[in-house]
Symmetry: C2
Subunit: 329 residues, 2 copies
């Protein structure tokens, strides 16, 4: 009976609605992932189509995976952009333009009978890491994702920082060098132009232009357009100095960003994840060096800078956690 009781437990659904794929997890209230599914998303579709597809997939999963054997407590969705938290509406949806202005919560709630919570994807990452990952047990920490862009989620006294309009913790658009390279946001020298996959690619192309990126170019089959942060990582692992120099630069600029985060938030911990963090060993030394050199005494020795633990699951975990929290747990 005990075994059966466990099987028939209460579960949460965590959704990571990314720019090119959607991950859905069935997760226990203690943060254990029972099932995961994933499907590709075409971000150029209209918002209605995207959300209809999500609802249809979600209904399938709920029927197949939950059915009568589990009790669904709630659903959480993590999504890039600024969210009007009161209305559950996307204010700004950079990765899926079709969702700009879309009232996603109401749309889904009309079709699926379950409590529904929405959160920014970087916030979901931070909350996932805080729930069962590298920031577990901490009430004051920052999560930073180094992906295509740089995202941030900041937890203060156990609560995520949303700001007055849901646009806080845009860590990726801190100005690091006022005269630095152009950023997608229209600014110059934002953290994102250095410490993201896009930034690594940019630095690699610059190195190639200067005649220093031979090994990187070789790994991209000699085609500049095939240079990716992944190729730079491969080159660095093979011992290529130019690629290692790029990660060193990335680490240095990331360190400057962390100095600002430390000075403004005084966190116990900073958790760094995202696909570009796979090159950890090639950039973290430079990052920690800058922090020790530049952050204020009393903070720099005490803050812990660690690698994320939940990998690609942080998003679904965080989304499930948001759902759990919204139920008052």
């Amino acid at each position: 009976m005990r075994f059966r009781g466990l099987m028939m437990g209460r579960v949460l659904v965590g959704i990571d609605l990314g720019g090119t794929n959607v991950r859905i997890g069935i997760i226990t209230p203690t943060g254990r992932i029972l099932k995961k599914e994933e499907y590709a998303l075409d971000p150029s579709q209209g918002g209605l189509k995207i959300v209809e597809e999500l609802v249809s997939n979600l209904k399938n999963i709920l029927r197949k995976r939950i059915g009568r054997s589990n009790q669904l407590l709630g659903i959480g969705i993590g999504i890039a952009g600024a969210i009007d938290m009161k209305r559950g509406r996307m204010v700004l949806s950079p990765n899926i333009p079709g969702l700009n202005g879309f009232g996603i919560r109401e749309f889904i709630k009309k079709r699926i009978s379950s409590p529904l919570a929405i959160e920014n994807d970087a916030n979901a990452f931070a909350l996932g890491e805080g729930w069962v990952g590298a920031a577990k047990g901490s009430n004051d920490y920052c999560g930073i994702t180094l992906g295509t862009g740089v995202g941030g989620g900041i937890v203060i006294n156990g609560e995520i920082l949303h700001g007055s309009r849901g646009m806080a913790s845009e860590v990726g658009h801190m100005v690091i060098d006022p005269e630095g390279p152009l950023c997608g946001c229209g600014g110059k020298g934002c953290l994102e132009v250095y410490a993201s996959a896009t930034g690594i690619r940019r630095m690699a192309l610059e190195a190639i232009e200067k005649g220093e990126g031979g090994e990187i170019l070789k790994r991209a089959g000699g085609k500049v357009e095939e240079v990716t942060s992944e190729k730079v990582f491969e080159a660095a692992r093979s011992g290529d100095k130019a690629a290692q120099k790029i990660f060193n630069e990335m680490g240095r600029f990331l360190g400057l960003g962390l100095v600002n985060v430390i000075h403004l938030f005084d966190p116990e911990k900073i958790v760094i994840g995202g696909k570009a963090s796979r090159a950890w060993d090639f950039f973290i030394k430079a990052t920690l060096g800058v922090v020790m050199e530049r952050a204020i005494e009393g903070s720099r020795e005490k803050v812990t800078i660690v690698r994320a633990k939940c990998g690609d699951d942080a998003g679904i975990l965080g989304a499930a956690y948001v759902s759990l929290k919204s139920l008052g747990h």
Copy 2:
């Protein structure tokens, strides 16, 4: 009777324990200042002497100004540096080195029978402006003081941000230009080296060295060591282009700092005060220009950037407010 009732009201004492002078105010629970006193402080004295002097002055004021005609609700102290909020102990006291490590709350509480609250001075500034000043009615705002250094106080959902060790909102030590001038903190290119009285003086000395600061030097009686931010302000007001250029530069760098603050906190409002903000008309245009150019769409149009209203009283008001809040009001 009503008149007498008002006169015999309950009052708070707010103390602004600065690096060179101490201001003490008797303040109503609605934020009206009834009395103010001020005395000079020698910051090179030992901590014991400084706090004994404070206690002695405080006792005098309480006897003279409060006596039997008012009921003292509580005392609040604003002081520069990092404070261990739980123990009421100075962790770091940059302006009054003698107070480093001093358990100021316990010392005073043993000598004066009253509830006592301590808060960082920039936080007190922000809370004072939020209570009865330029941020009244706002729950999410940042207060920035441009003084000898640059201080910050950040209010999130109506609560001041302390961080995990009471060292948050060090706005003045955000890195604005990684290769900028040396800062007192040991870093380079911190906001403080541009947007403080010290920064203005530095830029003036550079202008003089380049042969551009003739009018500024004249106003300092031809003596480089007498150049102050105040002299630069005078020169700017008289129409001196070199002085105006300095404030324009200051404003531009301040704008870069505000962009970071906006991206990280998404405040409704930013309130700027401190003695160097007196040159408002000479720097604010450049500041707002940078914010409109660099801050993310959706935030930049909505954040209000305003001048502080409480002048030199923000510190005592905020200290009194902290005391009021600590009583559960």
